[in-house]
């Protein structure tokens, strides 16, 4: 079983700081000045005071909610800790259709001041994750790559983006420095000034400009923190001992910030090509997690990151040293060559080997982007030792050297912090062990031959399956920073293992904006009245209103509206034959509801649409839903897990999601888990999901669904009846909307004919459209086209409904007609509806003698027969049976005789 959420929740302890300074008698609540947060098992304490900007646990791990803390208060019993906040929105929380209102491409770190009223601004103080830094509106956006804080420029009031009123932000001058954080050196790093800094490492910068300095500071700062948390098994950190105290304070905040953000790294990486994780962050997380002995987390983090970066090979070194549960050692051999062939700017590898406090050996492989090919090559060599039997240490050293060199420009502390470590005793011990394992692997590699397939596929599946193996005592973490080249790293990983591994993994570029090229000359507008009518009658044109579905509209509207109002969830099943306006009605309902929510009559909601026919596999439904909800692209299994989490966990600020599932029957799978999930989510307490499903058959739930699925779908059903002729007539009239192009009788004829046959509105509109064309052609002058008359409609109806078989027989060649007669003659003789070619051919020959035609040869006869078979006047067996193939008529005998008689006369 594949597991995705192996991450354990960090247990945090929240304590009020100080005495309650105020007591509200009415509400019976105490006000508090600050809140102390600490992580269980750690001493580090973060203090959160009102006025600070905080991250709040949300339904999306990658993007915790951002808010400004206004006030703390608790009730008398001191059990509940509450906080008042001012919300900020990330762009991803803005409804999809409103994003365009921004008018520019958003900055990935940008947030918006929320002026809406739909969200409760009271939160549980225990959902606070940590603090974050804010920069107000007057600072320009920094260059991509140097951003580490969040920016507020605009406010969002559910309808439009406005320039942020500076007054709103003024009450917290302390936490909003006017410029991005000033250079701060580790010792003096104050908790407020070091936010979740993700300053990228720029080794190329020769002069310590403020940002780099600060980043360097934060880098070393975190390092110090880690060592503090780790009870100093890392001797190299002693240099930072001075900073331990203050640094340890921010540790938990930092950890939470980064832990909460790490899955988001992938997302952020996509958004901004230049942005990277610093080693500091990476190490910080890794070590923090070690402190908590949460091996699984780090693994998960690493998997998600490397997954997103789509470096199959970089993942494998970690697999190579990890043990499978049964003690068998896995060893992907081919990998080294792959990574060498690869042209993408991978990082070089830094391996830090140390034995943790718990006696667990860890190998932390940290890949940092490299700038030149030399470093790249060395990195490849550096990664090989973990796979090859060669001495791991010997080759790892040069890589470290390179890193040290590069780093020395960046921060003077780095090399000291990193290089000595690998020389430590414990590290050498580990490398020795690894070497032993690799020797073992050598023997077992054949056993592993099928296993290494998933090794170089960075698919979620492989990664997750590996997490189970990680339960063993060894653990490897591979961290990579993103390559500088945005294009290559923007590629999503391909799901299927590619045969040509040395090539760039095939994938769709993530940033490719799919579009059809635009035309040079704009499309011409309809000229005359018939053109106008034709444009209005096209199925695609959206009518002003949907006539004849008022009752259905009202029912669906009421259903969705009540669910949105109550904040609950529910399912509805809608059936009806094609072309009865099911999808159109729902779209109309949603349009009206959107309008209502714009007018603040109902809370805001999101509308998502999927179509069973527009996906290649039922499980793609998850992918599409998730992509439309959060803009993420992940594999189906992962998407299912994310959605499951999203819909089952409570979160503040959640708006209702309305999901339309079109062509439901195609989401059928043998285990029906897709349908099950779709109908199960709305029943969850915190889901706030409304599912509207559409299919053609009324009894679909009874026919194809197993009981537990059908039961969850519930009994809210609706069926769209085929349109009656009056309704069809009304539809056309309303579409034409006073464009006088049709005679009244002509319209009635069309509607009656279609209503009698199928009641499909599309058919009706198509016939009308064709009739306008015929009318236009039949007119002698293009200018003198009159109304569409009965005759035109008749012609169009004939064209669309009449069977072409009779005409086809009439137009067939003489021998073909003769053959058809022979077939009928033979059928009559045999009293069966089937005969072999040989039998028919005897008749054919006799008939041609009667007709005075020269008899044809068998070859020709077969050719005639095949021609009739190709256009399906005859049904034939496979032609290799030659003379013995059986012949049947695909038309009734009467039709054939009628058609042949017409030819004779």
């Amino acid at each position: 079983m594949v597991r995705y959420f192996t991450r354990l929740r960090v247990r945090r302890i929240y304590k009020w700081g100080g005495r309650p300074y105020i007591f509200d008698r009415k509400l019976k609540s105490y006000g508090f000045e600050y809140l102390n947060m600490s992580v269980e098992g750690q001493e580090a304490v973060t203090t959160v005071t009102p006025g600070q900007y905080i991250l709040i646990e949300g339904n999306d791990d990658e993007y915790p909610f951002v808010a400004k803390l206004l006030k703390f208060f608790g009730d008398e019993s001191h059990k509940q800790k509450k906080a008042l906040v001012q919300w900020f929105l990330r762009l991803s929380e803005v409804p999809q259709n409103k994003k365009l209102l921004l008018g520019r491409s958003p900055h990935p770190q940008e947030i918006f001041y929320y002026l809406g009223r739909a969200c409760d601004n009271e939160i549980n103080a225990e959902s606070i994750l940590g603090t974050v830094q804010h920069v107000p509106e007057d600072t320009p956006f920094p260059e991509p790559g140097t951003k580490d804080t969040l920016y507020v420029k605009l406010s969002w009031d559910t309808k439009a983006f406005n320039v942020l009123d500076p007054v709103l932000m003024q009450d917290t001058p302390a936490s909003t420095p006017p410029k991005p954080a000033l250079p701060l050196f580790p010792p003096c790093a104050s908790p407020t000034a070091t936010p979740v800094s993700r300053g990228p490492v720029r080794r190329a910068l020769p002069t310590p400009d403020p940002t780099v300095m600060r980043r360097a500071g934060s880098v070393s700062d975190t390092r110090a923190t880690m060592s503090a948390g780790k009870r100093s098994t890392l001797e190299a950190e002693s240099i930072h001992s001075a900073s331990k105290l203050s640094a340890s304070k921010i540790l938990s905040a930092k950890r939470r910030g980064s832990a909460a953000d790490t899955p988001g790294v992938r997302k952020k990486l996509q958004l901004s090509p230049g942005k990277k994780m610093t080693r500091a962050d990476v190490l910080c997380e890794l070590l923090d997690e070690e402190m908590e002995s949460e091996k699984v987390i780090s693994l998960k983090l690493s998997s998600s990151v490397s997954h997103s970066l789509q470096h199959g090979c970089s993942l494998s070194p970690m697999r190579s040293v990890c043990k499978t549960p049964n003690g068998q050692r896995r060893f992907p051999w081919k990998l080294s060559s792959i990574s060498l062939d690869r042209l993408s700017p991978t990082g070089y590898t830094l391996s830090i080997l140390d034995s943790g406090t718990t006696g667990i050996d860890r190998v932390i492989t940290l890949q940092i982007e490299c700038l030149d090919s030399y470093a790249f090559l060395s990195s490849q060599r550096a990664t090989t030792p973990s796979r090859r039997k060669e001495s791991a240490m010997a080759i790892r050293e040069p890589a470290l050297g390179v890193l040290a060199e590069e780093d020395s420009e960046d921060s003077p502390m780095q090399p000291i912090a990193l290089t000595p470590r690998s020389k430590r005793k414990s590290a050498q011990l580990v490398s020795l062990r690894i070497r032993k394992q690799l020797n073992l692997l050598d023997n077992t590699q054949k056993l592993f031959s099928d296993g290494d397939d998933d090794c170089f596929v960075p698919s979620m599946k492989a990664l997750q399956s590996s997490t189970d193996e990680e339960k063993s005592e060894e653990e490897t973490v591979v961290r990579k920073t993103r390559g500088r080249n945005g294009k290559t790293s923007a590629r999503t990983p391909c799901k299927t293992p590619s045969k040509k591994v040395c090539m760039v993994t095939p994938s769709t570029p993530r940033h490719a904006t799919p579009s059809i090229p635009s035309r040079t000359v704009p499309a011409r507008q309809p000229g005359n009245i018939l053109d106008e009518a034709r444009a209005r009658l096209h199925v695609s044109s959206v009518p002003e209103s949907l006539p004849c579905r008022e009752q259905e509209f009202q029912d669906i509207y009421n259903f969705v509206e009540s669910k949105v109002m109550d904040g609950t969830g529910g399912c509805m099943y809608i059936s009806g034959v094609p072309g009865t306006g099911k999808t159109a009605t729902i779209h109309e309902v949603i349009r009206c509801l959107q309008h209502a929510s714009d007018m603040d009559e109902i809370p805001t909601f999101r509308f998502i649409e999927i179509n069973g026919m527009k996906m290649t596999d039922p499980h793609q439904a998850y992918v599409q839903i998730l992509q439309k909800l959060t803009d993420q692209k992940v594999t189906a299994d992962h998407a299912a897990a994310l959605l499951e989490k999203r819909f089952s966990n409570p979160a503040p600020k959640k708006e209702t999601t309305v999901l339309l599932v079109d062509e439901l029957d195609l989401l059928w799978t043998r285990k029906q888990n897709v349908m099950y999930n779709l109908f199960d989510w709305p029943t969850r307490r915190h889901a706030r999901l409304v599912v509207l499903t559409i299919a053609n058959t009324m009894d679909l739930p009874e026919r194809i669904m197993i009981n537990r699925v059908a039961s969850r779908l519930g009994l809210t059903r609706m069926s769209f009846q085929p349109y009656s002729f009056k309704q069809l007539q009304q539809i056309i009239t309303s579409r034409l909307n006073k464009v006088k192009a049709f005679e009244e009788d002509a319209l009635q004829l069309v509607s009656r004919k279609v209503a009698a046959l199928s009641g499909d509105a599309r058919r009706c509109l198509d016939i009308c459209r064709r009739a306008t064309e015929i009318c236009e052609h039949s007119a002698s002058h293009p200018s003198s086209t009159g109304l569409v008359r009965m005759s035109h409609v008749m012609e169009a109806l004939d064209e669309m409904f009449s069977s072409s078989y009779i005409t086809a027989i009439g137009c067939a060649s003489l021998q073909e007609q003769l053959f058809l007669r022979a077939v009928i003659a033979e059928f009559r003789r045999l009293g069966l509806e089937e005969a072999t070619f040989q039998q028919v051919f005897v008749q054919h020959r006799a008939l041609s003698r009667v007709e005075g035609l020269q008899p044809i040869s068998v070859s020709e006869g077969l050719a005639v027969c095949q021609r009739l078979g190709a256009c399906r006047l005859l049904l034939l067996e496979a032609s290799r049976l030659d003379m013995l193939q059986r012949v049947r008529l695909n038309v009734s005998q009467d039709d054939v005789l009628y058609a042949l008689k017409a030819v004779r006369d």
């Binding site: 391909c494 299927t496 095939p506 994938s507 769709t508 490719a512 904006t513 799919p514 579009s515 059809i516 090229p517 635009s518 035309r519 499309a523 011409r524 507008q525 034709r534 096209h538 695609s540 044109s541 094609p578 026919m613 527009k614 996906m615 290649t616 596999d617 793609q620 599409q624 062509e663 053609n696 499909d760 599309r762 058919r763 198509d766 016939i767 459209r769 064709r770 669309m800 072409s804 086809a808 009439g810 137009c811 067939a812 060649s813 003489l814 021998q815 020269q854 040869s857 068998v858 070859s859 050719a863 005639v864 021609r867 190709a870 256009c871 399906r872 006047l873 049976l881 030659d882 013995l884």
Partner: protein, 430 residues
Amino acid sequence: MCTLSRQRKGSIHELVQMILRERFCHQRLPEKPVGMESQHKHLLELLRRTAVHGESNSVLIVGPRGSGKTMLLNCVLRELLEVKDVNKNVLPVHLNGLLQTDDRIALKEITRQLNLENVVGDKVFGSFAENLAFLLEALKKGDRSSSRPVLFILDEFDLFAHHKNQTLLYNLLDVSQSAQAPVAVIGLTCRLDVLELLEKRVKSRFSHRQIHLLSSLSFIQYLDNVRSQLSLPQDFPDTKFYDEWNDSIKTLCEDQSVVDVLQRHYNSSKDFRSLHLLLMLALSRVSASKPAIKPTDLLEASRVCMVDSKANILHGLSILELCLIIAMKHLNDIYEGEPFNFQMVHNEFKKFLQRKSHSIHNFDKPVVMKAFEHLQQLELIKSMDSSTAKIQKEYQLMKLLLDHSQIMEALQKYPQCPTDVKQWAMSAFG
């Protein structure tokens, strides 16, 4: 004409061959499609509206093989692309059901031909699901007035209907029925029952426009067509030869034997592809020494075209094999078409040998068996049992894949056929 510039001196018949071969073999588009004016107008109008007004449409062109579906479409496209604003504004996408055998391949091909952004060089990256999502997204982003119309031309449309869930057809037709990028879906098929293949949702989205190409060509028109096909174009360099050639063609088409041959062809099939084959054979006999098509050439060509392939095979058989065929024929007569096995045939053959074997040796049984197997390889006889392994070769039930007339015709033409064998074949009972 570009071909004329390549003319070499003294080889005027080569030039003639070149011009006419291009007509017959290279599917050169005629100036104007013959006998399908209304269909031409309908299709042109439809595609013009897509190209100029951005109106989405779907249409099926249905007609038997060789009736000129592709020719009509290509003529329309040629005419459409001659219009200036249309030329750079349409994106034709050609698909063929025989090449794009499933939706995955078809999607890749569409993406490649549209040159969307996930195409690198000639390769389309991404999984099937990604590609589908990508294409749909691309089409969805477009709108009627600003994006270029895409013409999806689906050759062998019926084969696309066999793809899983008809996903591709559903999506293309759905786009054509919704306010997205303008598309025209043009299907070409020879199946008259193609609409029955479509799933109900797909069918509802199809506009039900069908253009039927059913030629109601009379024989007079057919003859005219033959004449115009064989005539040289007016811009032929050598006017003297031009006049001579066209006169000879005119007289050729008035010759009674030629008219008979053409009538026979017309009766058999009206399509132009088989006519071209016939004319091609006649044309290949034109040389420097014989600079015109004679009626005998056409007769000879017709004979080659009409020849019965099986009877031809019979001419190449050995006497023993022929005797076995005759024995089988008698068995067929006796048992009214019931299957036979080798043993029966051998007995029949032995009886014949005992009665009157003046010219035929007494063959050993293995030799006869070998001959029998050879006939099976030539598919003149066919085994009736599906599992051949179980039954011994001698007792496998067989059926003869030859008509009596074919056997008799072959015997007549068989070189130096022994008279007693001929008599045996004629006689009512073996």
